[in-house]
């Protein structure tokens, strides 16, 4: 297997294989929390942070514990436990030491545990056989890509006046169609870098 340079993975996971536009991960919170730029940015930062760290944690747990004991099939449970435990831990630390940050990010933390982007990145990391450095860049890049998508979506949505739309098109329907147009725009990046 050819080793892809970590930086290539980093940029590819932001642009060409963006978590939302080409892997459809994290759509639930993407459609519901993209109404205002500020909240979207808050969630984006929280997701990036959690993604960057949990992906590395999951890499270590998977390769040094699960593979060692031959328990690869337990990875779903272990990954979700690592993510849930980390989010819980983060919530406690923020509440105790960084109260301001807790009040601005705190509400998003429970949402993150069920965000499929976090779990998805860890599973992709396994199927694509990344090494530790590649994994770290992949997690960080995916998070930034996700944040980029949700912030730009919120920017577009704040300009749409939903009162003028045909009946039933407002809300999720228009969000999905707009996402489709943005995904087409992101296909334009596909010549720059690619990972599969």
């Amino acid at each position: 297997m050819i080793q892809v340079h970590p930086l290539v993975i980093f940029f590819a996971s932001i642009f060409t294989s963006n978590m939302i536009f080409s892997n459809f991960l994290g759509m639930c919170s993407f459609t519901s929390v993209s109404k205002e730029i500020e909240t979207a940015a808050g969630l984006g930062i929280a997701v990036t942070f959690v993604l960057a760290i949990t992906t590395v944690l999951n890499y270590i747990v998977y390769h040094y514990i699960l593979v060692y004991f031959g328990l690869e099939y337990l990875r779903f449970i272990i990954f979700i436990l690592v993510i849930a435990a980390f989010v819980q831990f983060l919530e406690m630390v923020l509440e105790k030491y960084l109260e301001n940050l807790y009040y601005s990010l705190g509400i998003f933390l429970p949402l993150i545990t069920v965000n499929c982007a976090i779990m998805g990145v860890s599973l992709f990391m396994v199927t694509r056989n990344y090494n530790l450095v590649q994994t770290a860049f992949f997690g960080l890049g995916s998070g930034i890509g996700w944040a980029l998508a949700i912030v730009s979506m919120a920017g577009i949505r704040s300009r749409i006046n939903e009162d003028n739309l045909p009946l039933g098109l407002g809300g999720p329907a228009i969000t999905l169609i707009t996402t489709g147009i943005m995904a087409m725009a992101f296909i334009g990046f596909s010549g720059i870098v690619s990972i599969s």
């Binding site: 991960l25 779903f76 499929c116």
Partner: protein
Amino acid sequence: MANRKKIIRDGIIDDNPILFQIIGICSALAVTNLMMNSLIMGVSLIFVTALSSFTISIIRKYTPDHVRMMVQVLIISVYVIFVDIFLKAYMPDMSKALGPYVGLIITNCIIMGRAEAFAVNNGPVDSFIDGAAAGIGYTLVLLVIASIRELMGFGTLFGIQVLPETVTQWTLMIMPPSAFFILGIFIWIATNRKLTKEEGGSKK
């Protein structure tokens, strides 16, 4: 019995998880480029939702409230692992095609949603039916979307050539954007019909 009919009707049509509750759409978008993928995904989801709702409902009186979520996630994961191992053993190609999306059934909000909204308050048999109905509703939407995408993108249905080979294949249909467009239009039609119905009902 009338009550059970209503549960089934709600899950499949009136309160379809994808079209009206807009949950569980990650996997709905990702696997719908081929009919076969969607069918396998749908059947796996019906299996996991129905059985996890059933199990959660059985132990609902013995689970302390504050660890409820954790217990639910663990139960769901166990069933997903069954599905994953089964696919790997009997359908290795399918397991590769679906890739990480099998594992992502755990974070599919439909299952957790049904568990929280229904199974924690109702009996095992009702919960089983409710979970299965939600799963069937999900599968039907997936199959319809996949039939449009596969027919236009490859000219095939379930891998069988349907359109003559001379028809130009519409590559965009198998790429991600089309999934967003088609699902967006579906949700638009569904919401529109629901709102029109409600208005008509209140006027009378």
